[in-house]
Amino acid sequence: MSTLRELADRAPDCLMAAWIDARTGDVAAVHPSDAGARYQDALATSIEIIRSPQRPGRTVMLSADLVYVLQRTASDSSRVLFLLSRRTANLGVVVALVRGLAEAA
């Protein structure tokens, strides 16, 4: 099972998971496959934010309804695991899940 599919399966409120290349700003993979078009603004903005090498390894943004998680991988800081989710009651689990999968990737 791919990391993105596993993330989507284990985070029930997940709307989109993606691998981002922060060096180029490209989306290397996205799940589900049509999510990139549906959440274009969220993805494009998140890419712009994480493209700066000054950004820390982990960033979580909360809006009234949504959670944006950006996690750099330990082995390659330009490789970023991104999760867009509905605001869930257990944010800690979602963030830990993204971190764990990014470290294992």
Partner: protein, 268 residues
């Protein structure tokens, strides 16, 4: 006291203080057009001890009388004369004789320093220059972190906004957290809570990053951003014209801060 501090002039102080090494002792000095001393900021091991300004209306003794509540101006005049005659330090003498408490003394020194610096900022004078000296020995109780003084000066020009920012920080922060509030576009804080050990360099880095993320994420209506700064978790949000920063250290700081911010109403 509600006066107008011009930000460019105040930013000069900020930049001058930023260049002072953390363990340096000396003075930042400004001179008027005729070469006379317009203002000086005395620094002891990176901490601000006092500000001296030509033309400052209130003396330290006035601030001490105001803080004390038990001292009359006449008693203070007498005591100042005695201290000058006997070469005694005024503050320590007041505390030793039980006329002023240590917190009162600290508040009076702080108010006097901020007011003097505010007057120096407004003076038409040269840029600040650094004059090093080796004399040390100010009690940390009687000196202040640069961030404290800068926030104190900023608060003189925006007392209502600074008061609201202080209230918000005190409401949101737990007892083991630090935080500061900064007007959007400003270089130094409007209010701070337990940030005395935060360097001006670190403060600038945090603010630059937070401002960039806030601008980029404007279309997403982000309420709060939490980042991991390597052992320190940082939450940032904006309200009105103010950017708030809350810092949390320790084990699981990131998850704790995230849960705290998710549960906290920051919109009012």
């Amino acid at each position: 006291m509600n006066v107008s501090v011009t930000l460019p002039a105040a930013n000069q102080v900020f930049h001058a203080l930023r260049r002072v090494a953390a363990d340096a002792s000396g003075a930042l000095v400004r001179r008027g057009a005729g070469g006379q001393l317009a203002g000086a900021l005395l620094i002891d091991r990176g901490r601000v001890c006092s500000a001296i300004t030509k033309g400052q209306g209130q003396h330290l003794s006035d601030a001490l009388v105001a803080e004390s509540g038990a001292l009359t101006p006449a008693q203070m005049t007498e005591l100042v004369a005695e201290c000058q005659r006997e070469h005694l330090p005024l503050g320590e003498t007041l505390v030793a004789r039980g006329l002023v408490t240590l917190p009162d003394l600290r508040r009076a020194l702080f108010t006097h320093t901020c007011q003097a610096l505010e007057v120096a900022i407004q003076a038409d004078a040269s840029p600040w220059t650094w004059v090093a000296h080796r004399q040390q020995g100010y009690d940390p109780v009687a000196s202040f972190a640069p961030i404290e003084v800068l926030a104190g000066v900023h608060a003189l020009s925006k007392p209502a906004l600074a008061g609201a920012a202080e209230t918000t920080l005190a409401r949101v922060a737990t007892s083991d957290q630090r935080g500061f509030a900064i007007r959007r576009g400003a270089k130094f804080p409007l209010a701070q809570l337990r940030c005395e050990d935060l360097s001006l360099e670190a403060l600038t880095d945090i603010v630059v990053q937070a401002e960039e993320v806030t601008a980029l994420s404007a279309t997403l209506a982000i309420e709060v951003t939490v980042t991991d700064l390597g052992g320190v978790a940082c939450a940032t949000w904006t309200r009105d014209e103010v950017l708030y920063v809350l810092l949390s250290d320790g084990e699981l700081a990131f998850n704790r801060l995230l849960a705290q911010m998710a549960a906290t109403s920051i919109s009012h």
